[in-house]
């Protein structure tokens, strides 16, 4: 029993880590990973929404009629996203400005809706919460790693601190849009070659 719980939590951390293994939620993964703090902030916001919406969807799974379930999930997710939006605007304004349009767009992050539909709507509260938390932490980790690579190589800093020597010529391709696609593509390739054998 305990084993099963642990597995529900840890599958989001390696075996099905989004967005590398479970290729969902690509847009924010590309857009906000210009700098490490953006990636970390977006990851935490998504984790919060994912955890709360998974718990609520799981609690309501016997109440929501099958036919309108997707619309109901969207309404639940949107409620938490509005909360996140207001909290970041009030207490973390620089982050709010940095993430910009991608905070409201958490609503349409397919990971959240995907977990609600594939897991929380069929499982009791505790496993759903663990699933949401695991997936959320996995997403945060991946975004932070991707953002760190892009920030360190692309602008020579990490979380705003200078890490490369002053003679380092920043590889600015990586902080632009094309670099985001190529970098994510290469990480996916690395993950594939690690996982296949």
């Amino acid at each position: 029993m305990m084993d099963l719980r642990i597995r529900e939590f840890t599958k989001g951390l390696w075996k099905e880590i989004p967005p590398f293994r479970l290729v969902l939620g690509l847009c924010p993964a590309l857009a906000v990973t210009k700098s490490a703090d953006g990636g970390l902030g977006m990851g935490i916001a998504v984790t919060f929404v994912l955890l709360c919406s998974n718990v609520l969807v799981s609690l309501l799974r016997n109440v929501i009629p099958k036919k309108v379930r997707i619309a109901s999930y969207i309404a639940i997710v949107a409620t938490y996203v509005v909360l996140v939006e207001m909290i970041t605007q009030a207490y973390f304004f620089p982050l709010y400005q940095k993430l910009g349009i991608f905070i409201p767009l958490i609503v349409v992050n397919c990971i959240i809706l995907g977990r609600a539909e594939a897991f929380a709507s069929k499982n009791p509260v505790l496993p759903s919460a663990l699933d949401g938390l695991g997936m959320g932490i996995g997403y945060t980790l991946s975004l932070t790693v991707l953002a760190s690579i892009r920030e360190i190589l692309g602008s020579g800093t990490w979380f705003g601190m200078q890490v490369m020597g002053s003679s380092y010529q920043p590889f600015s391709f990586l902080v632009e849009a094309p670099g985001a696609f190529v970098c994510l593509g290469l990480i996916l390739g690395i993950m594939n070659s690690l996982g296949k054998r």
Binding site: G25, I70, V108, C110, L113, A177, F181, G185, G189, N192
Partner: protein, 197 residues
Amino acid sequence: MELLILVISAMLVKNILLAQYLGNCPFCGVSNRMDTALGMGMAVIFVLTLSSACTWVVQRYMLDPFGLGYLQTLVFILVIAALVQLVEMFLKKSAPLLYQALGIYLPLITTNCAVLGVAIICIRRDYDFVHTIVFSLASAAGFSLALVLMAGIRRRISVSPVPRALQGTAITLITAGLMALAFFGFAGVDASLTALK
């Protein structure tokens, strides 16, 4: 003239997919075949323009007068979801041919972040109604253009010897990165058009 600049900028220079990172999930999902890419592109052009117009009206005449701006995310996603459902029902009844072509893509569009993204961008940039329509049409056309181009490229990739680890989404993302690099070239067009004005 000003509208022309807006069209070129939205479609090519700041391509919604390759420069603003919106709508990547359907981009990776349906770009493997030309006919599905075309169908999805058409459906996005149709729904995106309609939904931006609706959300603009909702924002201007319902949210703004009553100071309900903080509900924007929640209201917009519900408007879009309801609209997609309506369009689906309407097409099924009155234009069965069009429904056959676009039908299967419509439910997917609710969670296409380009739709919600463009609606929010229009509000944040304070566009009037005409600019909203033109901007949405051009953005959606840019999305479809990138999607169809990608479908063409992927057909060639499917017969090329891609390293095993990079097959699938990884090579698609790297190709998208190269396409984004090519679209960077349009920045000059934008600058010279602005100078003309």
